[in-house]
């Protein structure tokens, strides 16, 4: 008797399981065919380390809403392992497209291969990866960091009078913007041998980092003429350190930064920074357009560059009232 009941129960259970299986399968197919309307995008952000990044996040979130794309957003707090975890979870959730700004350049092959096998296209935003296999991602949308470094270098070469000692505040070690902005700058100043980088250290793209490193440089370097900071926030930290040393930022020590966020532009307009190369964070709209094309299977260029310029003090005064971020 007991045996019969168990058999009956297991048969019922099996039927239920089968029903569930077919049910979910049907639903899966359903969304698959109507995928053109509701695109789900998984976005793995680096973190919120600077005002620039926050503007970038905001632009992506707002433009996703405007484009009717369902955005799943995660913040990796500057850790590669968190970003890999987020990407894996997007693969499991079967999103239509994955976009992310890689924290560092290397170590992405495995997780991107997983995405490729699951047939989920990947778009890189703002930072590139270093991989031999370019089929791992569809396109890279973002600024040309080497070009930004070159613009900073050009200004340096044009405005240098006599021997110039430059100290450099690098971004997070190993991050693409830090490597490329350094490279572009060095490339340009190489033409003038009397411009020298006398010290270079990472300030991790943060204000506290920039301030601490600059404080140490001010003590260890006998003569500093120019600070080249890889982002505004480190430059703002350096301003504090220079003031504390009894010198005038922008006059005694000139400052070049990259980004052009509102706080940086304010300092530029006030004469505390001398030149800012723009790095445009508002790439949300372009990203959503690319995402739609990629999901439809259309061809997209492998590299899309965002539009950006540079500001001196007068231009900053004019541009500041309309600055959104």
């Amino acid at each position: 008797m007991l045996k019969k009941i168990t058999t009956a129960a297991s048969v019922i259970a099996l039927c239920a399981l089968a029903a569930c299986g077919s049910g979910s399968g049907g639903a899966g197919n359903g969304t698959g065919s109507s995928g053109g309307d509701a695109i789900t995008m998984g976005f793995a952000q680096v973190g919120a380390e600077s005002g620039w990044r926050t503007a970038n996040t905001k632009s992506i979130q707002e433009e996703a809403k405007a484009a009717g794309i369902d955005l799943k957003f995660s913040d990796a707090q500057q850790k590669q392992e968190n970003q890999i975890k987020a990407i894996r979870s997007y693969i499991q959730q079967k999103v239509k497209v994955i976009a992310f700004s890689p924290v560092v350049e290397t170590g992405w092959d495995t997780v991107l291969l997983e995405a490729k096998r699951a047939n989920i296209p990947v778009i890189l935003t703002d930072r590139a990866i270093d991989s031999d296999d370019t089929s791992l991602y569809k396109t890279f949308l973002g600024s040309d960091f080497v070009e930004e470094g070159r613009k900073a270098g050009d200004w340096m070469v044009a405005n240098a009078t006599g021997p110039t000692n430059v100290v450099e505040l690098q971004g997070t070690t190993g991050a693409a913007p830090a490597i490329d902005r350094k490279k572009g700058f060095e490339e340009k100043i190489a033409s003038k041998p009397d411009i020298k980088i006398v010290a270079s250290q990472t300030g991790d793209f943060t204000r506290s980092g920039g301030k601490q490193v600059m404080e140490a440089f001010l003590k260890s370097q006998p003569k500093i003429d120019v600070v080249y900071a890889h982002n505004d926030d480190m430059g703002l930290g350096a301003i504090e350190a220079i003031k504390a040393a009894g010198k005038v930022p922008g006059k005694d020590i000139k400052i070049i930064t990259v980004d052009a966020v509102k706080d940086g532009m304010t300092a530029l307009a006030n004469g505390e920074i001398n030149y800012i190369v723009e790095c445009n964070p508002l790439l949300g709209k372009q990203l959503m357009e690319l995402a739609k094309k990629v999901v439809k299977g259309e061809n997209v260029p492998a590299r899309v560059v965002t539009e950006e310029g540079a500001f001196n003090q007068e231009q900053a005064k004019a541009a500041l009232p309309n600055r959104q971020y």
């Binding site: 204000r207 003590k219 260890s220």
Partner: protein, 327 residues
């Protein structure tokens, strides 16, 4: 006691000498705008938050606990204060903001104490909860933005000077207070007894649970003040980077100072030395021009060396003569 502090002192002196060799002007001090200015002053100013957190951590570790949430608590304190201050330049607003933040930190400390003493969860797990969630709370408060403030009263906490940096004066005052209340009364002994054996202490009439709650609340308040220093130093609250990994620096400072993670005996002087070693190490990296790519390796080598010379076994193994005498 003397012997325990000998090796940290040797390490600190060695680091300072290294700076002197690479930067002869490292020890130069001058008066700038009415306050002291120089490399050593920077070490004190930037080391103040780590020292403060390490003091709280010392007491927690003495009760055989650990507090991983201090970095997140520091971020919350900074976020709450800066959001409260907003664009106001008032002294009163800054004071109110800091008071609110520190009360909130005490509440967070109560939460940690509740998990550890009340529910009996292992400290490393209990405080991991707030370590992870706390940064989220701070992000929520700042809405993910970096909040820049322009308030001269608030600036004083982390960037102000009364001859010496205000921040180190605060940290040293707290150190003095803790040394006095725990060493001149029985409190220190009670804390150590809880660390050695909480159950035996309870049976002997020590209120173990109350002591555990107290040390977690104290650690959280210390973390809160440290958070204010860090954010005030740059006049901005950055929920993401404020106090990031400072719990590890603080634990390392306590351990380098000779306090055992197994609880019991603790050394506040050791913690002071440990904090100074860690900050001097960071400053050394910047001054002697270690390349950014090898910074972490350089730090790791120094920390491992310091830990090794503190271990009697490692010292014995390095010295053949001692081994020969022993055998």
């Amino acid at each position: 006691m003397k012997n325990r502090l000998l090796w940290p002192i040797v390490a600190l002196v060695a680091l300072l000498l290294l700076n002197l060799i690479f930067t002869p002007s490292f020890f130069a001090l001058r008066i700038q705008d009415g306050h002291l200015y120089g490399g050593l002053v920077d070490v004190l100013k930037n080391g103040a938050p780590t020292l403060l957190i390490a003091i709280g951590m010392t007491l927690v570790i003495a009760t055989r606990g650990i507090d991983l949430s201090v970095g997140a608590v520091a971020a919350i304190a900074a976020a709450v204060t800066c959001v409260h201050i907003g664009t106001s330049p008032d002294f009163g607003t800054a004071l109110a903001g800091m008071a609110i933040a520190l009360v909130l930190c005490a509440v967070l400390g109560l939460w940690n104490g509740f998990l550890v003493a009340g529910l009996g969860i292992q400290p490393i797990i209990a405080t991991l909860v707030l370590m992870t969630a706390g940064r989220g709370i701070a992000m929520l408060v700042t809405e993910g933005q970096i909040i820049t403030v322009n308030n001269n009263a608030y600036r004083q906490v982390g960037a102000g000077f009364v001859v010496l940096p205000v921040s180190i004066l605060i940290s040293l005052a707290v150190l003095g207070l803790v040394a006095f209340t725990t060493r001149k009364t029985a409190l220190g002994m009670l804390i150590e007894s809880v660390g050695v054996n909480p159950e035996a202490s309870r049976l002997a009439g020590v209120k173990s649970k109350t002591i555990i709650w107290t040390v977690y609340v104290f650690a959280a308040v210390c973390a809160g003040i440290a958070g204010l220093m860090i954010s005030s130093n740059v006049s901005a609250a950055d929920a993401n980077s404020n106090g990031l990994w400072i719990e590890m620096d603080a634990i390392l400072a306590v351990v380098i100072g000779g306090t055992s993670l197994a609880g019991g005996r603790y050394s506040l002087a050791g913690t002071l030395l440990g904090s100074l070693i860690i900050q001097t190490l960071t400053t050394t990296v910047y001054t002697i021009g270690v390349a950014a790519e090898v910074t972490l390796v350089f730090k790791a080598v120094v920390v491992i060396t310091v830990c090794l010379i503190q271990s009697p076994k490692a010292r014995a193994a390095l010295s053949f003569r001692k081994v020969a005498v022993a055998s």
